[in-house]
């Protein structure tokens, strides 16, 4: 189930985000890691050390690209230079699929560099679908759109976030990067049951799963990627695996980054859910 046309039928296992504070460890110890996710924007330059580092990583590890500024939901068109550079990088990394967020963040050529939520409207669906299709056609690889954490809801919204996501991916015929931490954060901020979300997303389109930690404030939760994964998020992960089967899984840790081993060990906790799922399957086969 997890191997599907949205992740190029790849069984990637458990990866972590490639982050600068870990470079020394990675190059000196060469740890065994199933795969690394890179932030595309950090490597969309012309030359220099970022690309040299990337080439070294590519020699030894599998890499999947994850973007933070394609803004599939922005009403104004993307910068052609952005697309061109992204395609150059795709050719370099040979990423089997590419993900970015179901959000917006720029308007009229000005960038907020944030992942801003969309109003869940038919107009937003049309715009987003058009953009995803265009990017997918241009890059010629499968695209997965990721659900974001959000702190605001719009008066214009006509449906739930999971209905919106489903509509977009079905119409654009693309994959989903299901971030179960983001589902949890948004569920708390918008007062819905996160299981309703996980239980209804089209499982056959889930190309990849993100897990991460967050920060809780008095009146809201912020998606800070600076903590271990909490139990309720692991529960959502377990349910997602139950529905989707073993799926390429990635732990995001972006602030107050601990040692490589700490991050990697946290990610590898996902294995017990994958094993449990495999056990259930084996049992039912007998």
């Amino acid at each position: 189930m997890s191997r599907n046309r949205f992740n190029a039928y790849q069984d990637h296992g458990i990866g972590i985000g490639l982050r600068i504070p870990h470079y020394r460890h990675i190059f000196s110890r060469k740890p065994v890691v199933d795969w690394f996710e890179i932030i595309s924007e950090n490597f969309m330059c012309d030359a220099g050390r970022p690309l040299a580092v990337l080439d070294d990583i590519l020699e030894q590890y599998r890499v999947v690209q994850h973007g933070v500024s394609m803004y599939f939901g922005s009403a104004t068109a993307p910068d052609p230079e952005h697309l061109k550079r992204l395609k150059t990088l795709v050719r370099r990394t040979n990423t089997p699929w590419l993900s970015d967020h179901l959000c917006w963040g720029s308007v009229d050529g000005t960038y907020t560099h944030d992942l801003l939520p969309l109003p869940y409207t038919w107009e937003a669906i049309e715009r987003t679908v058009e953009r995803v299709r265009m990017v997918q056609d241009y890059l010629e690889i499968p695209i997965a759109v990721e659900n974001v954490s959000s702190y605001a809801a719009f008066t214009d919204s006509q449906m739930t976030e999971w209905e919106f996501l489903t509509e977009v991916v079905e119409r654009a015929d693309c994959g989903i990067l299901l971030d179960v931490n983001n589902i949890y954060v948004s569920a708390m901020n918008h007062e819905f049951d996160p299981l309703d979300y996980v239980n209804t997303v089209p499982a056959h389109r889930v190309a990849q799963i993100h897990i991460a930690g967050h920060s809780k404030y008095e009146k809201y939760i912020l998606d800070t990627h600076d903590h271990p994964v909490i139990d309720p998020v692991w529960d959502l992960y377990a349910r997602a695996i139950e529905r989707c089967g073993p799926t390429p899984t990635l732990l995001e840790w972006d602030e107050h980054i601990p040692t490589f081993d700490e991050v990697h060990n946290e990610a590898k906790k996902a294995q017990r859910y994958l094993d449990k799922h495999a056990g259930v399957l084996a049992e039912s086969a007998q």
């Binding site: 969309m44 050390r49 952005h82 560099h113 944030d114 409207t121 107009e123 605001a152 998606d223 990627h225």
Partner: protein
Amino acid sequence: MNLETLQREMAAAVMAPLTADEDMRSHAPDGRPMSEVAAQFIAPNSRLTPFERLEIYNRQYWFRVLNALAEDFPALRAVIGARAFEALSIDYLIAHPSRSFSLRNLGSMLPEWLVAHPEFCTRRHRLALDVAKVEWAFVEAFDNAERTPLTLDQIATLDAHSRLGLQPHLQLLVLEYASDNLVLSLHKEHMKGASEAGVKQEDGPIAPVQLPRLRRRSTWVAAHRLENAVYYRRLEREEFLTLAALRDGATLGDALEAGLAQSSKPGSRQPALVQSWFTQWAALRWICAQDIESLLNN
């Protein structure tokens, strides 16, 4: 509200400056109460008003862009102090919000903008201009393109009418102080990265750093990259002027004339001097064939 209007309204609100206490301002830049602006498109929940929900994004935006700028200009921040640097950054980002998908380009207009804005660094304005230039040159030298350089043999075949190109990562700087050394001593070399999270970083010291007494002294510097590391290299004035003329598209003959016209170096020593420049430039891989764009312009 259609999608485009909503995004324009929300982006304007998110990018509006915060109060001194890092809260969202009560009024939008156009004078409307921000609570009304927010309620136009944002729904409340049981704990937060539309204003408070929008405020989360307003703060995230500023924390993120201010962090990014501080990462690119750590020496400027140290020279004028963290508080002045933040005030400067806010005014700069209001004038020049990001126009690029990458935060890498956020500070590209800062050295130029700072010329007309001495108010953030009165006592050290000229020095601050230098430092901003040196730090931005680092960003450009760090990851700009590298073209195939000409070899010394190829350079030997050139004549006075030849036009050349310089490496895109090579940045030529005229400074009023020897601020390249100052920046180096204040710079902890680091690489930058984008992430999904927008959180506020811990603050460093607020006050400007103590500096040794710096005397004004015209200084010519090349920031460039060699084997993926960025270096600042001092140039002689004549050498700088020649390179600058080449970069601007002058023929080799004209560039050398521009470089040596006001030189105090005796004419008899000039051929040897020029030869030593080219030997060094070739070793540093600085000299390329003219690129197609400038060929078309000429």
